[in-house]
């Protein structure tokens, strides 16, 4: 529990004078002042203005490289009329009052844009009202700028610090006037991020960098064959290693799973790691060592003919398909992947007595850290303090806080803080992984190429069923068929299906979730239809599939323009286009490739358009898209998790390679931000359409259609 002094110390607030604290009621329905009593400071104040003038903005969205550390508070700062230089940012720690604090689903900006601007605007209005009251002036004669309220006729002014106490006593306006975007000073501009100087000088603190007095280190022996039971272990060699203090047998908790594990705790990480390698553990694989990806993939192919759960049906697919003069069908195969952020999973935990737990961690969500811990360890959520540090990448992996539960379980057996660090091998092999999805595609076309019938059938295991260890449910079919029924394309007689396949390996969200695999099948197949229709793939999409205006059509038109689609290419070159709209947003690519021998392919140029509606920091958007393209290129041409004898054969970057600098072409990013109510996400939409645009470009250049990822660019 946080008392006043504890909170002030942790948040670095001086506690001098009084504050205006402002935030949302826990239900998110009502904006409230946290009043003039400093003890109430922890009641959700996004903004804290202290009498001496310090302005603090709380950031609920963890930063794993997407720039939220500043871009989320920037939405408050804009309306509050303070410059980013005047603001101190503090990361929230899963306090109930802040509601959801998980960065995921490309939701940090789009999910908070209205809410946090309203917080800032309400505080600004209260400060102006307080100043007007002191001057006995009309509110309309007052304005705020850079944390000062001015009285226009006289030029008199008060700083926010001087006004905070008075302002805190005023009623909170529930519908404050938001600024006209044309008056924005911060939003929409390329402002530099405060974490960059820290990250180029080694000063940024990530979870793995936390150091506490008396801290010990832990390395954990897990079994790479999932669901294995620990029979026994021999620690005689481990205990002879100097520095090894203790072994802790516990269970790794991931979703509903409990996996046996043994931690070696030592006074250095090196000793703990050596101790782990020296440990001889006997595992009972429970038959799971028979699992092979090759056989599993064959079983997915065998299921392609099965009738699945219908997730979308319009018209009469069967009749239309069978009577169509032109029929085509294709099968696409996408593999499992590991997230592989550069910072391996780790967590530091310390128990203060038996019932107070403190956690330091790189995670995508402080609230989810608490949830995952309380699900597995008997402790009330309010007794857990979570400190969120910078994350060395996340990509979905850090939504699942099994490492935090592990560290808490190990530290419980010691009376000092323990930092647990996974090796890269564990990070690669232990999941949860991106689900493999296979897609059976069918289309019927008229003689002129017009679509008459369309089907995308997904065959795959599901995320929820593997994480929660239960059979498929109808809810899963929608997340495993994400986006396939909601593209803007005008496809009559569409019937999409989902065929569920059991799997015992935990699967989970990987940057852009199921769209990261399904878009490849969907958009390459649209290309196959265009080819069959004898039409240019861009013209087929624009002229045949998108006759009505839509955001997708606008996106493709922009792509056509910026990529110079109609300009002829040199011999041996090819262009490909793809777009995908899903829960996170909308983006599209044109990729240009060249091939001199119709076998080895070089990527020449990448054009990307992302439709956001509203943009907060265009430079960060460009970075996110460049990054998504790089990650998508790795996923398309480099790596897959392949199980053999029950475990991932991929262990580290030598056999799970990532794209390197010499393999990454230029990416030209264009943002559509024409305002309007709809705000789309940034972090994920750059991923799904990349691989299909590349595959379609390769077809244009070489005549070879790629239907299985990953493939080798040097030998398509």
């Amino acid at each position: 529990m946080l008392d006043r002094r504890h909170f002030l110390r942790l948040s670095g607030l001086s506690g001098l004078g009084l504050v205006l604290g402002l935030g949302w009621k826990p239900d998110g329905q009502e904006l409230i002042a946290t009043g003039s009593d400093i003890a109430t400071i922890r009641l959700s104040p996004y903004i804290i203005i202290e009498s001496p003038g310090t302005i603090t903005i709380m950031n609920p969205m963890p930063d794993m490289g997407q720039g939220t550390f500043q871009s989320v508070p920037a939405m408050i700062a804009e309306e509050l009329e303070v410059s980013l230089e005047q603001v101190k940012i503090i990361q929230t720690g899963g306090e109930k009052e802040f509601g959801g604090q998980t960065a995921g689903g490309s939701n940090s900006i789009r999910g908070h844009y209205q809410k946090l601007r309203t917080v800032g605007a309400a505080a600004r209005e209260m400060l102006i009202l307080a100043a007007a009251g002191r001057w006995k002036a009309a509110v309309t004669d007052c304005y705020a700028s850079d944390a000062v309220v001015y009285h226009k006729p006289t030029g008199k002014s008060f700083t926010y610090g001087e006004l905070a106490e008075d302002a805190g006593k005023l009623p909170v306006p529930q519908h404050p006037q938001l600024k006209d975007p044309k008056d924005f000073k911060i939003l929409g501009k390329n402002y530099p991020r405060p974490d960059v100087p820290l990250k180029v000088s080694g000063k940024a603190v990530y979870g793995i960098d936390v150091e506490l007095p008396g801290m010990l280190y832990a390395s954990v022996a897990h079994c790479p064959v999932f669901n294995s039971k620990l029979i026994s272990y021999d620690d005689s060699d481990t205990m002879r290693i100097k520095g090894v203090k203790k072994l802790v047998r516990f269970q790794r908790a991931l979703g509903a799973h409990k996996y046996d594990a043994v931690a070696v705790v030592a006074d250095t990480y090196w000793a703990a790691y050596k101790g782990k390698l020296a440990l001889k553990v006997k595992w009972d694989y429970q038959g799971n060592d028979r699992f092979d990806t090759e056989a599993y993939e064959q079983s997915l192919r065998d299921m392609a003919g099965k009738e699945g759960q219908v997730v979308h049906s319009e018209g009469d697919f069967e009749t239309a398909f069978h009577s169509a003069p032109v029929q085509l069908s294709s099968f696409y195969e996408l593999p499992m992947l590991s997230h592989s952020p550069m910072e391996p999973q780790n967590c530091t935990a310390q128990w203060h007595g038996k019932d107070q737990l403190e956690i330091w961690v790189s995670s995508q969500g402080a609230d989810r850290v608490k949830k995952d811990i309380t699900r597995n360890i008997e402790i009330p959520a309010e007794n857990i303090k979570v400190n969120i540090l910078f994350s060395g990448g996340g990509f979905g992996r850090r939504l699942y806080n099994d490492y935090a539960v592990e560290a808490a379980s190990i530290a419980r057996e010691l009376d000092v803080p323990v930092k647990m660090i996974w090796s890269r091998e564990e990070d690669t092999q232990l999941g949860p992984f991106r689900p493999p999805t296979f897609s059976a595609m069918k289309a019927g076309l008229a003689a002129d190429g017009k679509p008459l019938a369309f089907q995308h059938k997904v065959i795959s295991p599901s995320m929820g069923s593997t994480m929660e260890d239960k059979n498929d449910t109808s809810g899963e079919s929608s997340s495993m068929t994400e986006g396939i029924s909601t593209q803007a394309y005008e496809l009559p007689n569409m019937k999409n299906e989902y065929v569920f396949s059991q799997m015992h390996i935990p699967l989970a969200a990987w940057r852009s979730v199921t769209s990261s695999t399904l878009a490849f099948a969907h958009e390459c197949f649209i290309d196959e239809m265009a080819v069959k229709a004898g039409k240019d793939p861009m013209e087929y999409r624009l002229g045949t599939l998108l006759t009505k205006p839509s955001d997708t059509k606008r996106l493709l038109l922009k792509l056509k323009e910026v990529s110079g689609w109609e300009k002829p290419l040199p011999a041996g070159w090819g262009r490909g286009v793809a777009q995908y709209e899903f829960f996170a947003g909308l983006g599209g690519y044109v990729v240009e490739v060249s091939s001199t021998d119709r076998s080895s392919v070089r990527i020449e140029k990448i054009f990307m358009v992302i439709d956001l509606g509203t943009v907060v920091n265009p430079d960060t958007v460009a970075l996110q898209v460049e990054g998504a393209a790089t990650m998508a290129l790795t996923a398309a041409t480099k790596s897959a998790i392949i199980f053999k004898n029950g475990q991932s054969r991929q262990t580290n970057f030598h056999n799970y390679p990532l794209v390197r600098i010499n393999e990454m072409p230029e990416v030209e990013v264009h943002i559509i931000a024409e305002g309007g109510a709809k705000i789309r996400g940034v972090g994920e939409p750059g991923l799904p359409p990349f691989a299909p645009a590349l595959g379609n470009a390769i077809f244009a250049a070489t005549g070879k259609r790629i239907r299985k990822l990953p493939f080798n660019l040097n030998k398509v």
Binding site: M64, G65, P192, D195, V196, P197, K199, V200, S201, G202, K203, A204, V205, Y206, I208, D209, E211, D237, R240, I241, K242, T268, Y269, W270, A271, K274, L277, A278, S340, M342, F390, S391, G392, G393, F395, I421, R424, L623, E626, G627, A629, M631, A640, N652, F653, H654, P657, L658, V659, R660, I661, N662, E663, M664, E666, P710, F711, N712, L713, N714
Partner: protein, 188 residues
């Protein structure tokens, strides 16, 4: 599809996992971890530490000396997050045994400039290179050696020198531009 590594031309760096191997061989020989007094010079400061001479330099820098800017990424010289300078050369500290580093000048990211004033750091800030930032210490340490040896690198020079440093966030285009920009700053 699973490419055999030797045939995968996109995977130029295929060093053996020395870290794992050394650790395993010690265990196999049933040797007890030996401690020795080792003196290290890091960022011009002398440190006398008592540690296992087979401990990789990375862990001594991070956990004993307490400089956290050098990162752990793979433990087998595949990702470059742990890159430091050893007598002016860029090395992967995760596979550099302490015994080998003794008596040499070690420079980490914390030691390449005062006040973040190295041209590379300035260029990195100007072009807002980092995303998560975890790999960037290593990127800058590799780039610093490149620029010292080659003050006017071409794109290809940059690619060759920086191939050993992975970035999962995908900041490669920015890194390339920032190295050119740093060269410009250095040469003016």
């Amino acid at each position: 599809m699973d490419l055999p590594l030797s045939k995968n031309p996109c995977n130029p760096i295929q060093k053996k996992n020395k870290f794992e191997q050394s650790a395993v061989s010690i265990v196999n020989a049933k040797k007890i971890l030996l401690m020795a007094a080792i003196s290290l010079t890091v960022n011009k400061k002398q440190y006398h530490i008592d540690a296992d001479p087979e401990m990789p330099l990375l862990w001594a820098i991070r956990d004993i000396i307490g400089l956290k800017g050098t990162k752990f990424g793979c433990g087998m010289a595949q990702c470059g997050a742990c890159t430091v300078h050893l007598d002016g050369e860029a090395v992967r500290s995760c596979v550099t045994l302490l015994g080998r580093a003794e008596g040499q000048e070690i420079v980490t990211i914390e030691g390449i400039s005062e006040n973040t004033s190295h041209p590379l750091q300035k260029a990195w800030i100007e072009l807002q290179v980092p995303q998560c930032g975890y790999c960037q210490s290593g990127q800058i340490m590799s780039a610093a050696v490149l620029l010292r040896e080659n003050p006017h690198p071409t794109d290809q020079d940059i690619d060759e020198a920086m191939m050993g440093n992975l970035c999962r966030c995908g900041t490669y285009n920015r890194i390339r531009k920032a190295i050119h920009r740093a060269a410009e700053i250095m040469n003016t």
